[in-house]
């Protein structure tokens, strides 16, 4: 199929349409709004449901209702909007419904700004809503990957009756790149045996997240946890670059992973034996891969557009077996390739340690400079 030059947010929207999106509900917020605008034209054209909701609170609950039918449903937002959705997301998780959430992260906290950020990693990955649940979280680094992961998100959501978030950011949402769109899938016409539709020729069904009996609620929690173990066993995805002979590893996801790749290539050109691990699923996190790697390499560098949120998952995975360093930018500032290269060189030069916290060393370096 031909490659088209598309803006990230529009490519994601069209990918969702082609994956069989039956209903979209959203609210404008930069840097995500192009998805909403695109679908406001595209969905009615195909006779599918589109509602610009009165708020993200309403949008996520419209998604909740539509998800109860078993159809493919989606919303997209950023920062403050994602925060408003957390109650609904928890209910959706508690009702075990499939849905796709596109989070085009922006600078925060607060109203922050509309520049790219990765500071909602904890909120999305750790499940910002109340209760024990894990969403599956996919982190694209390009427009093409946004397209591919959006399609995958719908499949995984159905397979595991789960929320699947595509954790993107303002740079990927706004950039234009050539991409290949997937073939058009028809809308679903058969639905799972939990979906509501009107009790025609069958027993009635109801979908709820309340269970006043704690023992039964615990059962439900256990079911979610066992299902999550299955996800962890089968759905970990990551990309590695130049790792075969690497003595050092950079770990970065999404657009920072992409910046890191440029830096790793530059370092290789200078003869530095460094590689890159880019988690595609930041949830489930590729912990085993990193644990294995911690036996192979002499040091790791975690790069993020936040204060080291994924860093904590890297530290848990490598549990002190390898020295880890961190470099981050915050508030909507991107990590630049030359900064990443400088940090790789700092890592290689040492000294390396497994004591203390990488975040403290990073903050101390900044404090000293100022």
């Amino acid at each position: 199929m031909a490659r088209e030059l598309m803006k990230g947010n529009e490519a994601v929207a069209e990918a969702a349409v082609r994956a069989g999106l039956a209903a979209y509900f959203g609210y404008p917020i930069t840097p995500q709004t192009e998805s909403l605008e695109y679908l406001s034209r595209r969905m009615p054209e195909l006779g599918r449901a589109f509602v610009q909701a009165e708020s993200e609170v309403a949008a996520i609950n419209m998604v909740y209702g539509a998800a109860c039918t078993g159809q493919r449903v989606m919303t997209s937002s950023s920062g403050p909007g994602i925060s408003l959705m957390q109650e609904g997301l928890s209910f959706i998780a508690g009702t075990e419904l499939p849905m796709v959430l596109i989070d085009v992260q922006r600078g925060g906290p607060g109203l922050g700004n509309i520049a790219p950020s990765q500071a909602d990693y904890n909120q999305i990955v750790k499940g910002g809503g109340h209760g024990d649940y894990h969403p599956i979280v996919l982190a694209p680094a390009s427009v093409q990957e946004s397209v591919d992961l959006t399609v995958l998100a719908f499949d995984l959501a159905e397979k595991y009756r789960s929320i699947v978030a595509v954790l993107s950011d303002g740079s990927i949402g706004q950039m234009m790149e050539p991409c290949e769109l997937p073939p058009m899938q028809p809308l679903k016409t058969s639905f799972p045996d939990w979906a509501v539709s009107g009790a025609k020729g069958r027993e009635r069904r109801f979908l709820t997240s309340i269970n006043l009996n704690p023992a039964m609620q615990e059962e439900m929690n256990l079911r979610l946890m066992y299902r999550w173990q299955e996800v962890e066993a089968n759905e970990v995805r990551y990309k590695e670059y130049y790792m075969d002979d690497a003595k050092f590893a950079v770990v970065g996801f999404g657009s920072t992973g992409r910046v890191a790749l440029s830096a790793v290539r530059a370092a290789r050109a200078e003869g530095i034996p460094v590689g890159l691990i880019r988690p595609i699923t930041v949830s489930p996190f590729p912990s085993k891969v990193l644990e294995e790697l911690s036996k192979q390499v002499e040091g790791m560098l975690v790069l993020e557009m936040n204060a080291g949120q994924m860093l904590e998952d890297v530290l848990i995975a490598t549990h002190g077996q390898v020295p880890v360093e961190f470099y981050g930018r915050m508030g909507g500032v991107c990590v630049l390739p030359e900064e990443a290269l400088r940090e790789i060189k700092r890592l290689v030069k040492g000294p390396l340690t497994t004591t203390g916290h990488p975040r403290d060393r990073w903050l101390n370096r900044i404090a000293k400079k100022n």
């Binding site: 209903a23 509900f25 009165e54 609170v57 309403a58 609950n61 009107g198 009790a199 009635r204």
Partner: protein, 257 residues
């Protein structure tokens, strides 16, 4: 034929209600409202095309009592959830069942916008002037001077504001097609309430847009009254503040009646 058999012939459980006893307090009008809605669903032959949306409040378990498909919304969000269901299944009968805390406080944005969009759903709005489920706190509908567990000296409008007349307010929206208030305090009013419930569902099934029936209700438990006293209080105090009436009847709806 014994008297019992005769009784069971004239007064049977509607098909659209499950054969279980409810968790509602004795005398509570939630039961009355459930029955009226179920009777209308039966009469209109909609049992296998209905998807209800329960809210958060004493009626959170409504899905245990209606023998139709059901989903259960977060507090106040039933109209948004109903929108999601209805947009996927435009030919189904989708209704929400909400209390006054749910609809007129935390869910005010969702109900206003569902009405403004002319969302083709039906809303049953139970106004019992307090938060029943959490133990009788002040609601947006609590009358001036009314004592609740969070207005122990009586609702002081100077600091706690005025009650909201929801039906009147929503009736102002162009998107709303049928907005009325009825009461459940005596047999005559219950019959009138049922007629309104029927009209509201007809509005939806004919694709005429947003319909809402506000039902004045009692909460004897939290009001600290017997059911009989509570019904009397409703008639005397609530009806005075919340007049029974038709607040919006779109010309297209008027033709149904």
């Amino acid at each position: 034929m014994t008297i019992n058999e005769l009784d069971s012939m004239v007064y049977t459980r509607p098909d659209s209600l499950t054969d279980v006893s409810t968790h509602y307090c004795p005398g509570c009008t939630h039961g009355t409202a459930h029955r009226l809605i179920a009777e209308v669903i039966d009469e209109m032959g909609l049992k296998d095309r209905t998807i209800g949306v329960a809210s958060v409040g004493c009626s959170v378990f409504a899905y245990n009592y209606f023998d139709t498909d059901f989903v259960q919304a977060p507090h106040g969000r039933a109209p948004a959830m109903a929108t999601g269901v209805k947009r996927v299944y435009p030919d189904r009968m989708v209704f929400t069942y909400q209390g006054d805390g749910d609809l007129a406080s935390i869910g005010m944005a969702e109900i206003v916008h569902a009405a403004a969009r002319g969302e083709n759903i039906t809303v049953f709005f139970l106004n019992n002037t307090n938060y029943g489920m959490t133990g009788g706190q002040m609601a947006p509908t609590t009358l001036p001077g009314q004592v609740t567990t969070s207005s122990p000296n009586g609702r002081d409008v100077e600091t706690q504001g005025y009650p909201i007349r929801t039906a009147e307010m929503l009736a102002k929206l162009d998107g709303a097609s049928y907005v009325v208030r009825r009461s459940l305090h005596d047999p005559k009013n219950i019959r009138l309430a049922k007629k309104a419930i029927r009209t509201a569902i007809e509005v939806q099934m004919r694709g005429l847009g947003f319909s809402l029936v506000e039902l004045l209700s009692i909460c004897p438990t939290n009001w600290g009254k017997t059911p009989a006293e509570a019904l009397q209080w409703l008639e005397e105090k609530m009806v005075a503040y919340y007049p029974i009436g038709d607040y919006k009847v779109h010309p297209a709806v008027a033709e149904i009646k």
